[in-house]
Point group: C2
Chain length 337, copies 2
């Protein structure tokens, strides 16, 4: 850290994160720990770590986007339970030569993400590290009996997904593409929407609560790719699934990107690209239309029926002719070679 001592930095961060937030008795940088009021509902607890060189590169991701993202990925896990986020904690490892201004920007992004989702950031820890590493914990609330886990999918349920898939993977590919090829794409509307999906992902908090109220039997966020995450949901529920490939919603710009770069399969990017933070849920057949209408009216978010939960274990893909083949659970494994 250049420019600040640890105590000075903690004081500065405390100022960035300060502000009256409901339920906060003692906030960031003030004491050994934070003090908040309990809610009346069940408590959701989730934490995610973002590591430089694994989840992001300092050369392509701004400090502000990184902070915002670190909040969003956790809020998405709360959304996937059907809950409301409440409080956040941030632990941060920083290389010795990190500029204080970069850290201030990072906390600006954390604050921005916190404000977006009404998460009060109440504490955490700072450390030296070889590379930047940020771990955020978010607490949330959900009424008793209202949480939607991964394990409740039943044969006959429909499989639905919010929004569209593959945008973040497209944005990543675009951000890494040869500038000569990608130049005009970056300037196009679809190119910008792909980069926005990568750098400013949205967590579907309202949508998750609506799906829970609509009777979702199982739900999770699509963080590691649809095919891998659906296989996890099915495993947790002890069921199988059939996905109609022509119904999988491919995000705007993904087809254009593949055409422009002359490589890549839009459907594969939608099936296997992670980090879109859309919600994957199962619903009784009769609940799909009302849920879709609710999401459209309240959030302008599409909800797409992409297939069916089956008794037989395993996830299969159905092509437009109705032929089945196994859908390999490919996606993001943090330890895969």
């Amino acid at each position: 850290m250049t420019g600040f001592t640890e105590d000075e930095l903690i004081e500065t961060i405390g100022k960035i994160l300060s502000g009256e937030a409901p339920g906060v008795r003692l906030g960031a940088g003030r004491d050994d720990a934070a003090l908040v009021e309990p809610g009346r509902h069940l408590v959701i607890l989730t934490a995610d770590m973002l590591v430089e060189g694994v989840h992001f590169e300092l050369t392509t991701m701004s400090a502000r986007d990184l902070g915002y993202r670190a909040v969003t990925v956790n809020v998405s896990d709360v959304a996937a339970m059907g809950g409301s986020p409440r409080f956040g904690l941030v632990t941060l490892g920083l290389p010795k030569d990190t500029e204080a201004s970069w850290v201030v920007e990072l906390f600006g992004g954390l604050r921005e993400g916190g404000d977006e989702y009404a998460v009060a950031l109440v504490g955490g820890d700072l450390s030296r590290a070889d590379r930047v590493v940020i771990s955020v914990t978010v607490t949330g609330e959900v009424p008793d009996g209202g949480a939607v886990t991964r394990s409740g999918a039943r044969p006959g349920d429909r499989i639905v997904v919010t929004g569209a898939l593959g945008a973040a993977a497209g944005g990543l590919r675009l951000s890494r593409a040869d500038p000569h090829l990608a130049g005009s794409a970056v300037a196009s509307e679809w190119g910008r929407s792909l980069l926005a999906a990568l750098f400013r992902p949205l967590a579907r908090v309202g949508e998750g609560q609506s799906l829970a109220q609509a009777g979702a039997t199982a739900m999770m966020d699509v963080s590691d790719g649809l095919s891998l995450d659906l296989s996890r949901l099915c495993k947790a529920s002890g069921v199988g699934a059939a996905v109609a490939l022509d119904r999988v919603p491919v995000a705007e710009g993904v087809r254009e990107l593949c055409r422009e770069l002359g490589e890549g399969d839009p459907l594969i990017m939608a099936l296997e690209g992670g980090e879109d933070f859309e919600l994957l849920a199962t619903l009784p057949a009769g609940a799909v239309q009302p849920a879709a209408a609710s999401l459209r009216e309240r959030f302008a978010t599409p909800l797409t029926d992409i297939g069916e939960v089956r008794t037989q274990v395993g996830v299969v893909a159905l092509d437009p002719e109705g032929r089945e083949r196994p859908l390999e659970p490919r996606g993001w494994d943090h330890f895969a070679g």
Copy 2:
């Protein structure tokens, strides 16, 4: 990670951490997030990050001790508020070549720490990283009005500290000393107690609650060294302090170590060595004797009166002749050159 895929590792960790714990509806490795029951009291939230090469070295700290320690340092922050720990989350960054057996040992240590302090570890995240980094969040509870912050010290209050200081710093020095010099020390009773303080620090949970009940006006844990942490407490309270140097409790073995190695000042190690996780508190003068009796009877933990809170800002040291000099707030700054 060698030996496991990410999903297999998460399943294994879920088994290590599993077990019926009060209030846990959905525990580790089960879903997008954990689900726990709310308490009736105020919620304490705290998080700490331990980084390889900064807080520990893999060559000198076992996976099991590291896991135990990662829980303890957070529980100590809950103890310093006068609270009871409840739930924990673990995020972990691991180099690609980490042995699965090492990770299993680490979670064994986390579980052991969780069991020691009745902290149910309910979730977290795994990631790849260049070096091992572990971030633990612990939640706790404290009755409304019962939390002890750093900011309530009043002029005239006595300054007390639990246990004795300098043992972890002594253990660190011993673990790094020339084996020829340190060999017999490591085998001695005092040497072993120093190493135990380093590798298996204790969090003073019961003591923190007793001090809160005894009327502590301010409290914090001594994680970065007495002189630095006392200066923080005084700053937060807007007061000063005078510490009687001959009353500062120097941990058993620290004097022997300095004699054996022929270097180091036991008092400096007690004043500036961090990571002992003793509690530093201020109490009205009349409350010291009853508090000390309570800690002795209930926990066999000494409580030592080391000085007085003053109106005048700044921390001074009093030598046995009553002469004052400023006590420099030296200790552990994670970003100091």
